[in-house]
Symmetry: C2
Subunit: 166 residues, 2 copies
């Protein structure tokens, strides 16, 4: 397969995957482009490679910087901003997981806690209270498992693997 073709297909594929996470399609495509690029790219590079407008490129690059997936570099003797992707895929996975947890689960848990104050003793209310506390338990334990997972990956597995490679 030719590089150009492989590159286009990768950008497509990554875009589809990203769309299924909170990251929108174009943002994920910009990310893909930066991931496989050996050097930092400018806004104009991104516009040209993906055929998108300046506003769009700008918004999505900024979004990626907010997610912590892309860094903004300066280059001496040049006014342009250069963008460079975080290349350690474990860092990428962790950042996405953290950001999603923050945006989704944390707020939902807060809201559920308030709902526990519902009054009454009908069958409906009893069922309601049971479901709410079940959800609370599951999200609580899931979050524990998740943080254990990232901690373990960080401190043990990954460092060992990186050592072996280098």
């Amino acid at each position: 397969m030719e590089y150009q073709q492989a590159k286009e297909r990768f950008i497509q594929t990554w875009g589809t995957l990203g769309a299924q996470w909170g990251i929108n399609r174009t943002m994920a495509q910009v990310h893909a482009l930066l991931l496989i690029s050996p050097r930092s790219l400018t806004t104009d590079d991104v516009m040209e490679e993906l055929g998108i407008s300046r506003g769009n490129a700008n918004m999505n690059l900024r979004g990626l910087v907010d997610w912590g997936l892309v860094y903004r570099d300066m280059q001496k003797g040049d006014r342009k901003d250069y963008f460079r992707a975080e290349k350690d895929l474990w860092v990428v996975a962790k950042r996405i997981a953290e950001e999603r947890k923050r945006r989704e689960l944390d707020t939902v848990k807060d809201q559920l806690i308030q709902l526990k104050n519902v009054v009454g003793d009908s069958e409906e209310v009893r069922e309601f209270k049971k479901v709410i506390s079940d959800i609370d338990n599951v999200t609580g334990q899931a979050l524990q498992v998740l943080s254990m997972m990232t901690a373990a990956a960080d401190n043990f597995l990954m460092k060992t693997i990186r050592k072996l490679k280098s």
Copy 2:
């Protein structure tokens, strides 16, 4: 807080959470309604409670059955379909995780494998190959951890907890 108010807020909250997973907003609201309902509901119940059309209610109920989150019951002497939610939240979490893995990661991994056949030895191609194999490693290991997690939860933790409860 009154039950009616708590119920509406729960349906809203669950809808928002669901929208951030692959499940769309209305589907998650239908799921929420069924989750807190002590008995099975008909399509008409769902239409009335959520104020949605018959077609919409039908599609989303069917979707939930496909996801394995809702069961279709019959009731003797009645032609209507009755719908009942899976109430074990650990089963719900597992079903969602499995379905998303199937829909997202599995197809992406297949596609990435093909992309490894790219030819050439420029800097771009070397970087490309490196990123692809990194992604392959991360998804591979993440999937292992995930399946270990669900297996562990299934076989040990959850059964123990359930025993303690009953």
